[in-house]
Symmetry: C2
Subunit: 152 residues, 2 copies
Amino acid sequence: MTDMSATAERLALVLTQAGMQRMAARVMCALLFCEEETTTAPELCEQLGASAGAVSGALKTLVSLRLAERMPAPAGDRRDHYRLRPDGWAVMTSSRDHLLDTMLRTADEGIEEVGEDSPAGLRLREMRDFYAYMLREMPALIDRWHEQRRVR
Amino acid sequence: MTDMSATAERLALVLTQAGMQRMAARVMCALLFCEEETTTAPELCEQLGASAGAVSGALKTLVSLRLAERMPAPAGDRRDHYRLRPDGWAVMTSSRDHLLDTMLRTADEGIEEVGEDSPAGLRLREMRDFYAYMLREMPALIDRWHEQRRVR
DNA sequence: GTGAAGTTTCAGTAATGATTGAAGATTCGG
DNA sequence: CCGAATCTTCAATCATTACTGAAACTTCAC
């Protein structure tokens, strides 16, 4: 059984602590460190010592998050091939935007409930202003990254 | 028993899904929505229907993360008082910087292992470049927020 | 000092979430 | 079409994490 490198496993652990599901993180790191362009599910099972079911679920998650994608299988190979999306890291970061939006809307709701000038209202306005700022600035930041990357 | 508002509980859930410990998130939201300047541990226990031990642990976490702070107790009250730090949301976001740094360093390690030009090396360089960019830009973004906030 | 009120720690338990394994569905070559 | 290979789903199990309750510790008024 060909294990994943220790560095890859360590990265998976970091991603897990940052909130990603464990198996999804491990599969992502296996895709990151794999020495081919693409990988198949059975290969991932072997490298990770995990069941086909677990890998299938993790791949589904990664694809739905747009971190990985299914590639057309080479002729004569029936197995699905997967790879990381080149812009996966930016996507991962951008996916926090809808969280920012939720925070903003929740703050607004809270203000509705308690009024603008109560102690809670003041705190909620701080929160709202911050997330409004972030929601304005983050997409622009990621766009600048794509821009920079394109001209390279 | 005075429960926390439904909006507050919902926000706690969002923070939990974003990776925060459950009880820490609930305490943070109770502090956010509370209608006094400060709150005591027993009040939090009552509002959250949680044990003193759980609240104590959550407060310790929040203080160590610089999201909440212990206030000097008013004369004649032996109980500790807590409040959210006004800049808590910015702190929460900034705390991801050391994660960015970890990602950057792990990518570098990976490149050491596999070389710059292998398929894995190319992917790892993508990753490294992205996190280097983020690590350069994020602190500046938060600084601009503090700047803006100060002039208001 | 002494005792009452408050806080923290920690072992045990409860709740939660992740993984397996097997059965069913799908896909493709022959 | 049929059968083999692969993939997906899901119920049961296992592992992890979070919470409680009780005991130990701290702090302060008297």
